[in-house]
């Protein structure tokens, strides 16, 4: 515990170094990098210990503000979030060293980066409501400043504003959560919170408020609107951190809240499943319609948060239906997906960052052919794409498989509500999987394959090792978790037990059902890789395999194929977006070809966010209009002002007199 504290302290101090390092960007970066890595090292021991043994540790200092204690603790749930958090942070920091080189605001940017990591870390270990809130808001503020680093751009400012307002509204609900949990308690320590009985108004309210409050950070639809704005605006290593781990902190909050709530009623799980499937499916659909790589990735975060919600939902439904195995597998899937998404989404954002760094654009329709120019980035991005699509043998498949297994257990359980939930989960996951594959074959294909579609893309090259190494490590992790078989479950049992409230033995039994299949999958995957190798060798061994001729793409006999003739990401996704046009409402600007000899023309599509466009924007406009209307009634006339005073006094006196 002391080591952990020391780690946090180092991180804190190292974050302040950039403020004083002046123009020495390198010093600033190095300080934060070292701080993050040391913090990771210092915390890993206790985290691993807690994850394996299920032990929990706590330490508390008095804090001189109301309700607060500097109480932090490590239990399996905290450790489960803290480890990937610090790992990804360290990798992103290393990456950022190179990414941020030569930027003006290096110092402040690194300060906020450090604060973001620190804020997130403290959120997941906080054992006091007030400390939680403070850390939570520090996290929000730090990420806000990182997002608006390029605030010269109007879109960035807009993104920042949306992000802030969404967070602020979210935090209001978190206020309510803590207020209910810590009602009439004068220190908001978690241990002082009484466990609420299920079915009471209080527990219902806590659940709903937590869902909204933490959901707005996690990005549940329709509270996700800040995500597709903020991620593209931020520098890539920051988007990677935000998408990879910050939104998971929202999930952490939700899970932590669940531990105070006792036995969940059935509808909680059902609600989460509904939210999960809508977030998952709509998230991936909107991702399909995007042609900016970071916007696309942002929508994929919504999708993956949906998958996590599906897992947690299955877990809750499993508990309330008395099916511990289903519950354990659901929670395990959800939790594992948290880590997995952290890894592959971190990887993908870093990859996207490398592309943007080298080519200067994230517009997929302007890229292409980068596989040849940036082979290392390309292969990492490909790994990430396969992983996020849930394809074996990568990690995304493992967690989705656990959720599937839970749902299949549910389908065959003969408990009607559970079966119904499971059907929804299976359909959603199936659809999400298919669409995600579509989306990432599009993203990977249009960015890295084919011919360059613009000058920017034609002269790219792989970035330096500080940027490629983190990607490589993440890519290896993707594969490692994918083929580790059941060994990953070793770390899951304690955390699942913490979340679900089931005993460690029950969790072990539940997880054991997944152990063999995972082992089999790992073995089969390895076998198939060997088979692939064999097929490769066999192909080389064919009598005329060495005869190869290099020609232009045949393209059905087209005499002069051009890069501009390639299918773009927009055209690739068009059939799918067409089918779901009801939600997507893609706006198309068609070329005007009414003239006899049409001149140079352009075609463009844009898919704005449904909710932002049709719900939030009108709402904001309504408030603005309403207040403008009321404000117009303010004439500025002193006579009227004094009349206000007179009327107020008269009304009050009358009210008092006749009461």
């Amino acid at each position: 515990m002391n080591l952990l504290l020391a780690g946090f302290l180092i991180l804190l101090l190292s974050s302040f170094v950039p403020l004083f390092s002046g123009r020495e960007n390198r010093v600033a970066a190095l300080s934060v990098v070292i701080g993050t890595i040391l913090c990771l090292i210092f915390s890993s021991n206790i985290c691993l210990d807690s994850l394996i043994t299920g032990g929990s540790y706590e330490i508390s200092f008095r804090m001189m503000i109301p309700f607060a204690n500097f109480a932090i603790g490590i239990d399996p749930l905290s450790a489960f979030f803290l480890m990937p958090l610090l790992l990804l942070s360290a990798l992103c920091a290393v990456y950022g060293m190179s990414y941020m080189e030569g930027k003006d605001e290096g110092g402040t940017s690194w300060f906020f980066f450090g604060m973001l990591v620190l804020g997130m870390s403290i959120v997941v270990v906080a054992r006091n409501g007030m400390l939680f809130l403070i850390a939570w808001e520090i996290m929000t503020l730090a990420s806000f400043f990182l997002v608006t680093q390029d605030h010269q751009k109007k879109e960035t400012r807009k993104a920042g504003w949306i992000y802030l307002v969404a967070s602020h509204i979210g935090v209001a609900f978190i206020f309510a959560v803590f207020a209910i949990l810590g009602r009439n308690v004068d220190r908001l320590d978690f241990e002082m919170f009484q466990v609420l009985k299920s079915g009471t108004t209080a527990s219902t309210a806590v659940f709903i408020f937590a869902l909204i409050g933490f959901g707005s950070k996690a990005g549940f639809i329709p509270l996700h609107i800040w995500l597709p704005e903020a991620h593209p605006a931020a520098p890539s290593h920051v988007s990677s951190l935000m998408s990879g781990i910050m939104i998971k902190v929202g999930i952490y909050g939700l899970l932590r809240t669940l531990t105070f709530l006792g036995m969940p009623p059935l509808w909680w799980g059902v609600t989460l499943i509904v939210i999960g499937s809508s977030s998952g499916i709509l998230g991936v659909l909107f991702a399909l319609a995007q042609h900016d790589i970071k916007r696309l990735l942002a929508y994929h975060s919504v999708e993956n948060i949906g998958i996590i919600a599906l897992g947690i939902g299955m877990g809750l439904v499993g508990i309330s239906c008395g099916e511990p195995v289903v519950a354990v597998l659901g929670f395990a899937g959800g939790l594992l997906h948290v880590v997995n998404h952290c890894i592959f989404k971190g990887l993908l954002f870093l990859g996207a960052g490398a592309v943007i760094h080298e080519t200067g654009t994230g517009e997929m329709d302007h890229l292409g052919g980068l596989m040849k120019k940036m082979p290392r980035t390309g292969i990492c991005f490909m790994t990430g794409s396969a992983a996020i699509s849930g394809l074996p043998p990568f990690n995304g498949f493992v967690s989705e498989f656990l959720i599937f297994l839970s749902a299949l257990g549910g389908v065959t359980s003969m408990i009607i509500p559970l079966s119904f939930c499971s059907i929804v989960v299976i359909i959603s996951l199936g659809l999400i999987g298919g669409l995600a594959t579509a989306c990432f074959s599009k993203a990977f294909g249009t960015i890295f394959l084919g011919e360059p579609r613009s000058e920017h893309a034609a002269h790219a090259k792989d970035p330096d090792a500080r940027m490629t190494m983190p990607m490589l490590i993440l890519a290896i992790l993707c594969l490692a978790i994918g083929i580790s078989g059941g060994s990953i479950l070793l770390f899951l049992g304690t955390a699942v037990s913490e979340v679900s409230g089931l005993s460690m033995t029950a969790c072990a039994i539940g997880l054991r059902t997944a152990a063999y299949p995972l082992m089999a999958i790992a073995m089969l995957s390895t076998l198939l890789m060997v088979l692939g190798l064999f097929l490769f060798t066999a192909r080389r061994a064919m009598p005329r395999a060495h005869i190869e001729s290099k020609v232009p793409t045949w393209d059905c006999g087209y005499a002069k194929p051009e890069p501009r003739m390639q299918y773009t990401s927009s055209s690739f996704a068009q059939p799918l977006t067409q089918i779901f046009s009801f939600f997507l409402r893609t706006r198309t600007k068609n070329p005007d070809t009414s003239e006899t000899f049409p001149r140079g023309n352009s075609f463009s599509t844009e898919t704005p966010d449904f909710w932002q466009e049709y719900i939030f924007r009108p709402m904001v406009a309504f408030f603005a209009k309403l207040s403008a209307g009321i404000a117009r009634s303010d004439t500025g006339r002193i006579h009227i002002y004094i009349l206000y005073i007179i009327i107020t006094v008269l009304i009050l006196l009358m009210w008092n007199f006749f009461k």
Binding site: G636, R637, I638, H639, I642, L643, I646
Partner: protein
């Protein structure tokens, strides 16, 4: 019908006069008269025998409200050289009707409020309310800054009448402070009217925001 009652009737009449008059000069005169009458109140409204303190207070009030204020207002009026009409938002006829309605309400109210046993005269609280009302009404319904200042003075008078009516005795220090404050308020307003007339060529406060 004692002295107190007759003073109250006089005050009432000055108020109605203020509501009805259309000339600034006349208004200033009426305010002066009202100030003088109010100045008499400390003499009438003492619980015990007259003290030096009461005389001093009366003198002070008469000086400030009956002489200094009217002089200040007159001086302002002369030097800013405005049109001598009052320019109301609400016409004189309507003002008087509203005034009478307010008067009735004031009497009704004063009858229904359980005052402590000892009051200066039965009409005193009603007149106090009416004076306060008139002061506020002048501020709200008249355009010129000058009238608003007068309205403020009348309003202040009304509060003072209320205090006297209930035999409320402040300590001398506080009375002094209050009078000083009111004096400075009117003084500052007077200074500001110069500035207003210089900046705007008029002292119509509803047009302050324009130009």
């Amino acid at each position: 019908m004692n002295i107190a009652d007759s003073i109250m009737i006089l005050l009432l009449l000055t108020n109605l006069g203020l509501l009805a008059s259309s000339r600034l000069n006349a208004c200033i005169k009426t305010v002066a008269i009202q100030g003088l009458i109010v100045g008499l109140l400390p003499l009438v409204a003492t619980k015990g025998p007259l003290t030096i303190y009461s005389f001093l207070l009366a003198l002070l009030i008469i000086t400030v409200k009956g002489i200094v204020f009217p002089y200040l207002l007159k001086y302002t009026l002369r030097s800013v050289d405005v049109r001598r009409e009052i320019e109301p938002f609400i016409g004189y006829g309507a003002s008087i009707i509203i005034g009478i309605v307010a008067l009735i309400c004031s009497f009704w109210l004063s009858m229904h409020i359980p005052f402590p046993d000892k009051i200066l005269s039965a009409t005193a609280p009603a007149v106090a309310f009416f004076t306060i009302f008139c002061g506020l009404f002048l501020i709200v319904s008249r355009v010129k800054a000058l009238t608003q200042v007068m309205g403020y003075i009348v309003f202040e008078n009304g509060i003072y009448i209320f205090g006297s009516a209930l035999f409320i005795e402040q300590s001398f220090l506080v009375e002094l402070g209050i009078i000083l404050d009111v004096f400075v308020v009117v003084f500052i307003m007077g200074i500001m009217m110069f500035h207003i007339s210089r900046a705007f060529d008029h002292i119509d406060t509803d047009k302050l925001g324009e130009k």
